[in-house]
Amino acid sequence: MSEPLRVLLIDDDPDDRLLALRELRKEFPDIEAIEIKEGRELEQALERGGFDLAITDYLLRWTDGIRVLTALKARHPDCPVIMFTGTGSEEIAVEAMKNGLDDYAIKNVHHLVRLRAAVHSLLERAQSKQRAAQLATRLETLLSRLNLGTFRCTAGGELLEANPALVQMLALPSEEEAEGTVLQERFLQPDDCVQLFDRLVRTGQPQERELEWRGPAGHTRWLRLFAVVGASPKDNAVIDGFVEDVTERRRMADELQKQQLALNHVSRITTIGEMAAGITHELTQPVYAISNVALGLTRALERSKNSESETVSSGVRQILEQATRAGELIKRWRDFTRRRQADRSTWHLNALVQEAVELTTFESREHGVELALQLAEPSPLIAADRIQIQQVVVNLLRNAYEATYDQPESDRRVTIQTTAGRDHAEVAIRDTGSGVPEERLEQIFEPFYTTKPDGMGMGLAVSRSIVEAHHGRLWATRDADEGMTFRLTLPITQDDETSAE
């Protein structure tokens, strides 16, 4: 302590006071003493306060040490008091300790050292008590700022204590009236709560659980209950715990999951569509060849008047019919794909890109990827199937985020830029990851090529076929300094009738 120690010294014998002071100065050289020789002085000193410790004799002319102790503790309950006496007995000592005396030292040359030791340990105790009090205040402030409810309850769930945050959280009448409230009755799953308390008392292991609470207005909130066995002086088990409102967190998690599902769905649909379109295209050539050959054969058979030609020509006829049927199926699927293309509307490229960024915010935020958006003004207009192009941008964004994960968080940056050229608008997505070597830049667009342990390798292949179906281009370049840039171009449309903001 930087402040000098101030001690209240109550003794009517000047020699004894001197003796005590001299002894104390050996350990506390700059000690300040307020010397009390009579009752009125004590009254005034108690009134003024400003001392750290009191040392009192037992036998005083105007009173006795027990009374002095009582008066002191009444006004300054935290002030340590030592009884320093030559006339003490065990009865007096016990009586004094019962009344809150902190220590006892005997006025005797052999025991003088005890006084110093007593003062020393009392001061330490006072300091740690003060620190504990500060800590408690800090904790209380912290808990109320974090909006954490804290409580102590019986093993049966009856509230013994609750902090203001909990009172508010559970809509209890007041801190005082909260006592006796049965905690589990406040939740929509009282059995779960009782179970938690039982398990806690039985095992002694900390327990936690999310429980639903319904307010008087009928709205519900999700609260997370965390409970431990409390340190109780009595035999009855008490439960200490805190309650956290996790409604918002749960809502965000739900939202994330919903978006993830929606994205997966779009992704799946697009992939299936693209694969079907690819297969249709692959089937075109053989079906075309089969029907040409079959038709040529029918004519050749008509000309030759061979005896077996009837059977053969009926077989060839069937081949021709089936090839025609296959051709019709291919055309029908192609028309379906084309109709989707006809559904294209005009969109603002910037809005489309921004939406894609928002759809992936959870991922970029979770991994601490810093995003920079540089958008062309005014926004270029494009004719597109919004869902498909958004899917492409989302794919590219996710790839870019993931590419940066091998970098420390401070170096994870993704820049998204839109620019407008004469005929084409461009979206450039630049990342700071270590990227793909130059010679693999084209390979990454091939179907089933992947660098991810759990990837299917369809993302970029499908993305490119979507972009090409929009008469655009998609390619990748390595940046000179760091990372990669994926560029996506789409034809600009002049249409003024926009379907999107």
Binding site: T284, I290, L295, G296, A323
Partner: protein
């Protein structure tokens, strides 16, 4: 030059181009197959009658570029474009570049054959008209400058008397030259001559 009518086929898919041969040969039409536009252009001889069946998407030079090259050579050669993935812009481009038709693979039964048949007929017709025009031009070349002067005026609708006074010759001389023109041009009447010459000019 007399040469057999041929269907030229350009397709980078071997089975696809072979199948066109399997289709047209039983119909009695000769075919020649090429795996690329470049190969075809190297072998191309505008004097050979026939038509071209080409895929649009090829390795190397595309079907559209091939059409462009043929147009640059001023070839009156019917081209049938087939494609596995047609859309409106592609179809418009192909037709603008001079394709006679655009078919989508796979073609229903007789569609391709019908298209080839029409293209061959069209080529034959073009070549026949071309031959006629060439014959008329050759006949005109056999006329003397004096006979040519009379023919031009006859076609312009002038009567013999006016021609004689314009050319400063006798009516008899005009009549003689008119006779020679009809004989050399193999026309049985003035009306036939006029039609013949106008047709040849139109075709030029």
């Amino acid at each position: 030059m007399q040469s057999e009518t041929t269907v030229f086929v350009v397709d980078d898919d071997a089975a696809a181009r072979e199948s066109v041969r399997a289709l047209v040969e039983p119909m009695g039409v000769h075919s020649e197959l090429f795996a690329s536009a470049e190969e075809f252009l190297k072998a191309y001889d505008p004097s050979r009658p026939g038509c071209l069946v080409t895929d649009l998407r090829l390795m190397g030079m595309s079907g559209l570029e091939l059409l462009q090259k043929l147009a640059d050579k001023n070839a009156r050669f019917p081209v049938i474009v087939i494609t596995g993935h047609a859309d409106v812009p592609v179809a418009v481009q192909a037709m603008q570049h001079g394709a006679v038709t655009l078919l989508e693979k796979p073609c229903p039964e007789l569609e391709l054959w019908e298209a080839i048949r029409k293209a061959l007929a069209r080529d034959a017709e073009t070549r026949e008209r071309e031959a006629r025009r060439r014959a008329i031009t050759e006949r005109i070349a056999c006329l003397t400058p004096e006979e040519r002067a009379v023919m031009d005026r006859l076609i312009a609708g002038q009567i013999n008397k006016v021609i004689a006074s314009e050319l400063g010759v006798s009516l008899r001389t005009v009549e003689l030259r008119r006779h020679n023109v009809l004989r050399k041009m193999e026309a049985d009447s003035l009306a036939t001559l006029v039609r013949m010459v106008l047709q040849a000019r139109e075709l030029a």
